[in-house]
């Protein structure tokens, strides 16, 4: 070719500025189209909210389980001795109570286990008979119920604390379900916001995408580039959101611990690290990134359908 300037290859190949080197690998200009702030900020906020909700859900579940272990029955009736005939008579009388679903003597082994911390291993000690009663629905007025039981079984000791525990357990279960629903809602919201962000990015890069398309780029090529970038931004934001959620989660867990009778924390190592649902929490940034990736793939591929 006449007039071609004589430059050696190496001079230009070696002198390419570092800053521009990466540009060829970002032909969509995604760094400008999907600015590095919006998506991570959304991912951060969503992960933070989801982590808090998840922490709440697991905290409520832990409380419910603990309480349930401590009080297997709503009402216990304690008879002074283990006379089998008397136990049978009493059970028959108690079965007449309204809303009663179950009445049975407490398993002796379990009773012994419950008493062991106080009494030690003393097989010879005569144990009282304890009858466990379950109601559905829970009695409105536990005190009235206790009086009624006493009228049926004179001389017994009636314990109705279990009614309150059962109520708390029901509440905790409801809290857990609500919190899990909140997690789902937050993730759906994240998808909606990400879709809007990605659409804005597509609109901003419309011309560039059309050129790449006309040069033979497949929908997959273009969608994968978008999705990769979106997933990266979401993962970064998600990790930051999780880090921000941790102090609050540990504080929650500490509060719940004091409800369960643990001592207040004075040192970092004493924080209830192991009480947190780690696998679930660690899955959050991954889930947010995967959600971002999927959202980008679906949104971009859908958008590209308009091109021939």
């Amino acid at each position: 070719m006449p007039g071609t300037p004589k430059f050696t290859v190496s001079r230009w190949a070696n002198r390419r500025p570092v800053l521009r080197r990466g540009r060829g690998r970002d032909p969509l200009g995604l760094r400008q189209a999907l600015p590095g702030l919006l998506l991570p900020a959304v991912a951060l906020a969503m992960t933070l909210l989801a982590a808090l909700a998840l922490g709440g859900a697991f905290g409520a579940r832990a409380l419910a389980q603990r309480w349930q272990q401590g009080a297997a029955a709503a009402v216990t009736v304690q008879l002074p001795d283990m006379d089998q005939a008397r136990v049978a008579r009493t059970l028959a009388a108690l079965r007449e109570l309204p809303d009663l679903v179950d009445a049975r003597p407490m398993d002796q082994a379990r009773l012994a286990a419950l008493l062991r911390p106080w009494l030690g291993e003393i097989p010879a000690l005569p144990l009282p008979a304890i009858l466990e009663l379950r109601f559905d629905p829970l009695p409105e007025n536990p005190e009235g119920l206790a009086l009624r039981i006493l009228s049926v079984v004179p001389g017994a000791t009636v314990e109705t604390q279990g009614v309150w525990v059962a109520r708390l357990v029901a509440l905790a279960t409801r809290v857990e379900q609500t919190a899990l629903a909140a997690v789902v809602l937050v993730l759906l919201l994240a998808v909606a916001v990400a879709t809007v962000g990605i659409r804005a990015g597509l609109a901003a890069r419309q011309d560039v995408i059309a050129i790449l398309h006309d040069l033979g780029a497949t929908d997959g090529d273009i969608a994968n580039r978008f999705a990769g970038r979106v997933a990266l931004l979401c993962a970064l934001g998600g990790a930051a959101g999780l880090a921000l959620a941790l102090p609050a989660l540990l504080a929650f867990s500490g509060l719940a611990g004091s409800l369960l009778g643990r001592l207040p924390v004075t040192r970092l190592a004493e924080l209830p690290w192991r009480a947190l649902p780690w696998p679930w929490l660690a899955a959050l940034p991954v889930a947010v990134a995967a959600l971002g990736w999927t959202t980008a793939e679906v949104t971009v591929r859908g958008w590209l359908k308009r091109l021939p």
Partner: protein, 238 residues
């Protein structure tokens, strides 16, 4: 050294049978006067390895015809065959691979403004998944071929119209396409630059590439006589 034309193809490179094109009316407009036929009843064949002018006044439909051939637009009617594939009936997923074998010099260049000249020329190779190391030599060769090696790092806005034109040609040719379509490639160039661009296209033709060049400059055609498709009002004149 000029690039060799790849994908030697025997037979017809392009075949149109009663092809018509009508652009979809803009979204929201129900005006029946929109959606006029831009091209109608086009039937012609371009043998592999041929050189053709595409002539006609402004608005005759030259760019639209090139868009059909480069598969950037689907015909509204008729049957179209490009590179041995009946594209009017092909699945959408088959088209990208075909597009990579067609080089296009757009009327308005369509360079990516945020990419350097080097990266613009490298774009088709990167889209095709070519390795960075292998691609470097090809792109550098292209830059040398169009005489723009010193401008490798310039962004398109930093280049003159003629230089952008040559970058666009280099990008169209870097994949060694079987079919090369150029839309008004000398549109805003002076006589010297025009001759230079034309000799680049002719060189591709000599290497075996099928070339179609759209222009409304009769003087250019007189300087480089060759067979021509003449469009007037969206129809072929014989």
């Amino acid at each position: 050294m000029a690039p060799r034309a790849g994908g030697l193809y025997v037979g017809k490179m392009v075949r149109f049978t009663s092809v018509g094109l009508r652009y979809a009316p803009p979204a929201g407009s129900s005006d029946p006067g929109m959606g006029q036929d831009v091209l109608s009843d086009l039937s012609f064949e371009l043998p592999a390895g041929s050189f053709h002018w595409l002539l006609g006044p402004s608005g005759a439909g030259k760019s639209s015809l090139l868009k059909l051939m480069q598969l950037a637009q689907r015909p509204s009617r008729g049957e179209m065959e490009v590179l041995g594939v009946i594209t009017s009936r092909a699945r959408r997923g088959e088209l990208p691979a075909l597009r990579r074998r067609i080089g296009v010099v757009f009327q308005d260049f369509r360079l990516l403004p945020h990419l350097s000249a080097f990266d613009n020329i490298a774009l088709p190779l990167r889209i095709a998944g070519r390795a960075e190391l292998a691609l470097r030599a090809d792109v550098t060769e292209m830059l040398r071929w169009v005489g723009l090696e010193p401008k490798a790092e310039s962004l398109p806005p930093e280049l003159s119209g003629g230089e952008q034109q040559r970058i666009a040609i280099a990008r169209a040719v870097v994949m060694r396409p079987a079919l090369l379509l150029a839309d008004e490639p000398t549109g805003n160039l002076d006589a010297v630059q025009s001759r230079r661009v034309l000799s680049l296209l002719q060189e591709m033709h000599r290497m075996g590439t099928t070339v179609v060049v759209a222009t409304h400059s009769e003087s250019l055609v007189n300087a480089y006589p060759g067979p021509a498709l003449r469009l007037a009002d969206g129809r072929l004149e014989r």
